[in-house]
């Protein structure tokens, strides 16, 4: 990897990169429980549009969140199966549905930049900053804000 890696370990955060739409996102690895292929998703009638459904992951009931919908991106139509990133939030299990999983990256917090002011509102709401990688930008997903859709959903 050609990243500039600081020697200061405490400032380095490891990210799991994922693709949603065309955009690269990074999730702090400390928050990621596992990555899995969602199987037999049960839809939940009357739920918020971003709730894709519930599924059984090794005996736990996981609530799947459609990240494309959450970020206001169009539905996927290439027919390829989605992947899911398992997250624990306030004692409950969630699975964020994404297009594909990339790699694990160590990035220094020093190179993190704040959100550009003109960033799309739906993205800015869940973004914890941006990292400039070679050839592309990685938006940091703030997991807590992704799942904090209570009042937004109400308003919608």
């Amino acid at each position: 990897m050609t990243m500039t890696t600081d020697n200061l370990d405490q400032n380095v955060i490891e990210y799991v990169t994922v693709l949603i739409g065309e955009q690269l996102f990074g999730l702090p690895i400390s928050r990621v429980q596992d990555v899995f292929m969602p199987d037999r998703l049960t839809r939940v009638p009357l739920s918020a549009p971003e709730i894709a459904g519930v599924l059984n992951l090794r005996g736990r009931i996981v609530t799947a969140v459609d990240m494309r919908c959450r970020l206001g991106l169009p539905k996927r139509d290439d027919g390829r199966p989605a992947m899911a990133v398992g997250i624990e939030f306030k004692g409950e299990s969630y699975g964020l549905l994404i297009d594909s999983v990339g790699e694990v990256m160590k990035l220094s917090d020093n190179t993190r930049e704040p959100n550009p002011v003109n960033l799309d509102q739906r993205l800015a709401r869940v973004s914890g900053g941006v990292h400039r990688l070679e050839g592309q930008l990685m938006v940091i997903l703030d997991v807590d804000r992704v799942l904090d859709m209570g009042h937004e959903a109400m308003a919608a």
């Binding site: 037999r40 049960t42 009638p45 009357l46 519930v54 059984n56 859709m149 209570g150």
Partner: protein, 913 residues
């Protein structure tokens, strides 16, 4: 929080609950040294720990209480006053503990008031005790604790104890023991109990009765108590070794893991079933049975004796008894009956509420009881026992019983049921109205009738955990409430159904029956415009399509006539859920939904099925609310009045002409469809046999043809046991509309025309047709009124004036109708008088409340009976109405209620005159 502090809080709270119970027992049995010792020890421990933890406020309080109790031990007589002050000290300690738990530090403040009171009690009573002590002493009880539990003699192998048993072969009473934390503790407690009491009995037997005997017996008893308390310390050690405190979360997690294990086992079994003679078969069998046992074992850890929920009750009853000045005894049976923790938490409050109710409303005052020839002490009996997978809890009192007449009157006037229907009902059925929603909130019931406060809330709570509540009552003998609740909520039996390709679970408890509807069968889905209904055993069952309700039909056509109907009952509401398919029943493990989904009222949770897929569990309560708004139901119609001030439910139909006609739905008793062949012609009138009576048929319009074959739709009106039916061509719809008569008609039977759903619609005057069926329809009522009364009707809407005037006239009143409050006041100023004024609430310029206030302000009219007439019948409105001086509050269109209210007001005048 500090571990030590947390431990202290848990333990102290438990101790205090015990002290509450013990103190009440102690008050009844002041010479029981064992109880006193128990209390003393608990308070002493609290005091000691507080000193250790540096909680001076608590320590001071506990110390003062301990000092007073120390005096009791020295022979100070126990007075109710003293117990009250100790109880309030304990309440204060609890308050401080609550605060301590929240803020993790002792709140500031002083308790001088209580402490002084306690100290005063110590010094004052110390003097009087000298005279009182000898009198109290000889009553040392000769009761031996329940041997059933003390049988575990092995645990306390003392010769003395055995001898004590041998010596006291007297009759064995079974006192209700105070609920204790665990089985082991209970056994130990009982053993000690037995010992202490046996000893004191012996002590009494040893000495001959005489002046000096009393003090000696007391001394012996005290010595015995001391000895047994040192024994107790030893037994306590044993108890500590036998039970450990486990965090509830740990248990919950264990339960979840076991549930998952069960599911995994089910999956394995499924796989092995597909492969004959697999070598896994035998070990899997073993795994299967071990899993089952494990599940049972873990379930057991969640179980707690119901006595835990009863712990506070003796105190509650004692306080109420003091407050109400009644003599009440609370009996508790089956306190060790175990049930799931979660269920226990949920029934705690309803139980307390019901016991309060029994003490407050159920039992008469001491004077009343004496008059009725009953023992002065009223009894409330609580009992619990198992019955086939359920727990039955009974709350019985020997009080006055429910007042059937009052419930009847209230049920009719609040529009829950018609007078005709209630006449046919059994007493038991009438009593059940006290559970009807809103029944108790009405102003009148709380002040007049017996119990009923919040019974609907109790019922809702019990419904929520899938339980049922029933009651029996006999006038003068008392009432008893019987609650039936499931043992556990974690595992329920559910019916798996399919709708729009998805599976759902419906809890079996709510399901009454399954009906397969097919187009050519007896059970066929019919519709009143868009509302699907099913005729089931002469009742019209509102239906709701699950896919429509859940909005998952995805535009697909709903088969209008076929489907499976799950007949569901929630409270007193019955409805059918239409699904595409029904699979089987399965025991499911209920798992809570994610917080993101909890707002969906239609679901109560989700679960993993044996095949590993997740499905949603339907909440019948949520569905019932969804149905409520569309149900073709009198309840629904009257409820609509609550929710909507302006709109009313109208039944739209066609009769005679193409133009639609309408009638307020609340006036219609039932909608029927009869076979044309059953219509008979007799004496020039059309009749049909209906519910064992001949019901005359009246045509809305001469153009209407009464069918001689095929289905004939009818609108049935019933009153006081008689029914008549209007013959119509077709029932079109039920709509919620604001009714405004725009063109007033002079044709008999038609009030006028209004726009309903964008179409000009004739509004029918029902009052015109009723006498056509029975000439004396209204006159029967007339006969009951001795003298013609005058009524002033104030309503801004010409429609209501037109509709009510004939109704009131027919009931024998002389009616004057005016369009505003000002007009009415002007008439009265001019010297006109009326017996009763009926006024609308929502009127422009001067509303009903203002009008009533104006009447009150004028001395000439201040005594006049005023009845409010409104579609806005909310408890707040009723309250406000009472404040401004309305004598009664009647819902618009509640004709029986109105007539009843008028009758009541005019008869009041008769009495006054």
């Amino acid at each position: 929080m500090d571990d030590l502090l947390r431990e202290f809080l848990t333990e102290t709270n438990e101790s205090l609950d015990t002290v509450d119970v013990e103190l009440v027992r102690f008050e009844q049995d002041p010479n029981n040294a064992k109880i006193l010792d128990n209390i003393f020890r608990l308070v002493h421990t609290i005091k000691g720990t507080c000193g250790f933890l540096g909680l001076p406020r608590l320590e001071a309080l506990a110390h003062a209480a301990e000092t007073l109790m120390g005096k009791f031990r020295d022979g100070l007589p126990v007075t109710g006053e003293a117990v009250t002050i100790i109880l309030s000290t304990i309440d204060r300690i609890k308050e401080i503990l609550d605060e301590l738990e929240r803020k993790e530090e002792e709140p500031t403040g002083a308790d001088r008031d209580l402490i002084e009171e306690l100290e005063r009690m110590v010094t004052e009573n110390g003097i009087s005790s000298k005279t009182a002590a000898p009198a109290a002493a000889p009553e040392a009880p000769v009761v031996v604790a329940t041997p059933a539990r003390a049988v575990r003699i092995g645990e306390v192998s003392e010769d003395e104890l055995e001898r004590a048993f041998r010596e006291t072969v007297c009759e064995v009473e079974v006192p209700a023991p105070a609920p204790v934390q665990s089985e082991a503790a209970k056994a130990a407690d009982a053993a000690i109990n037995a010992k202490a009491e046996a000893l004191s009995a012996k002590a009494k037997a040893d000495v001959e009765a005489g002046p000096s005997a009393a003090s000696k017996a007391r001394a012996n008893a005290k010595a015995a108590a001391e000895r047994s308390s040192s024994d107790e310390d030893r037994v306590d050690l044993k108890v500590a070794n036998q039970s450990i405190r486990v965090n509830v979360d740990t248990l919950e997690q264990l339960m979840t893991m076991v549930s998952e294990l069960v599911l995994t086992r089910n999956q394995l079994l499924e796989i092995v079933r597909r492969h004959e003679d697999s070598e896994f078969k035998a070990p899997l069998q073993r795994l299967s049975s071990v899993t089952a046992e494990l599940q049972e074992g873990v379930m057991k850890t969640r179980m707690q004796p119901i006595g835990n929920a009863w712990q506070k009750l003796p105190r509650v009853v004692r306080d109420l008894a003091t407050e109400l000045d009644k003599d009440i005894e609370l009996e508790m049976h089956g306190a060790d009956t175990e049930l799931d923790r979660q269920v226990l938490d949920l029934i705690k409050d309803p139980l307390t509420h019901m016991v309060r109710n029994s003490a407050d409303h159920g039992l008469e005052t001491t004077a009343e009881r004496r008059l009725a020839g009953k023992p002065e002490k009223g009894t409330i009996r609580l009992s619990a026992y198992h019955q086939g997978g359920h727990i039955i809890i009974e709350i019985a009192d020997d009080g006055r019983g429910l007042n059937t007449d009052r419930i009847k009157a209230k049920a009719v006037s609040s529009g829950i049921v018609s007078e005709a229907e209630i006449e046919k009902m059994s007493e038991a059925k009438i009593h059940k109205f006290i559970f009807a929603p809103g029944f108790s909130t009405a102003a009148k019931v709380t002040s007049v009738s017996g119990r009923g406060v919040g019974m609907d809330v109790v019922r809702t709570n019990i419904d929520q955990i899938g339980g049922t509540i029933d009651l029996k009552s006999a006038v003068g003998e008392g009432s008893s409430f019987i609650i039936k609740i499931p043992l556990t909520l974690a595992i329920v039996s559910a019916l798996i159904v399919e709708a729009a390709g998805d599976r759902f679970a419906i809890p079996q408890l709510a399901v009454v029956e399954l009906v397969r509807a097919r187009s050519n069968s007896e059970h066929r889905i019919e519709r009143i415009k868009d509302t699907p209904v099913l005729r089931l055993r002469n009742k019209l069952l509102p239906l709701i399509h699950l896919k429509t309700l859940l909005q998952i039909d995805a535009g697909a056509e709903i088969d209008p006539e076929n489907g499976f109907i799950v007949v569901t009952q929630v409270g007193n509401q019955t409805f059918g859920i239409v699904v595409d398919g029904v699979f089987h029943t399965e025991e499911i493990v209920v798992k809570p939904m994610a917080t993101k989904l909890r707002h969906i009222a239609m679901f109560s949770g989700n679960t993993i099925l044996g095949d590993g897929s997740v499905i949603m569990i339907i909440d019948p309560n949520g569905i019932a609310q969804g149905v409520g708004t569309t149900a073709v139901h009198q309840d629904a119609a009257s409820e609509a009045h609550h929710h909507d001030e302006q709109k009313m439910s109208l039944l739209v139909f066609r009769a005679g002409s193409a133009q639609p006609k309408a009638v307020p739905l609340s006036l219609v008793t039932r909608l029927e469809e009869i076979d044309g062949k059953k219509i008979e012609l007799s004496n020039g009138r059309h009749l049909v046999q209906y519910r064992g009576q001949l019901m005359p048929l009246v045509r809305v319009d001469d153009e209407v043809k009464i069918r001689s074959e095929g289905a004939q739709p009818l609108l049935v009106f019933s009153d006081a046991g008689r029914s008549m039916a209007l013959v119509v061509d077709e029932i079109i719809d039920i709509v919620e509309e604001r009714l405004e008569i725009q063109v007033v008609s002079d044709r008999p039977g038609v009030l006028g025309s209004a726009v309903i759903k964008g179409q000009a619609t004739e509004v029918i005057d029902v009052g015109h047709f009723l006498p056509l069926a029975f000439e004396d329809w209204f006159r029967r009522k007339e006969a009951q009124i001795a003298k013609t009364r005058t009524v002033l009707l104030v309503d801004d809407s010409p429609f209501f004036r037109n509709m009510l005037t004939p109704v009131l006239k027919a009931a024998g009143y002389q009616v004057t109708a005016v369009g505003s409050g000002q007009e009415a006041l002007a008439m009265m100023k001019a010297g006109e008088t009326f017996d009763v004024i009926l006024t609308d609430i929502e009127m422009p310029e001067m509303n009903g409340f203002e009008f009533a206030q104006a009447l009150r302000a004028d001395p000439r009219t201040s005594d006049m009976a005023v009845i409010a007439l409104s579609s806005m019948v909310s408890p707040e409105a009723i309250e406000r109405g009472r404040e401004v001086g309305f004598h009664d509050y009647v819902a618009k269109f509640d004709r029986p209620g109105l007539i009843a209210a008028l009758k009541e007001q005019t008869s009041d005048m008769n009495q006054a005159a």
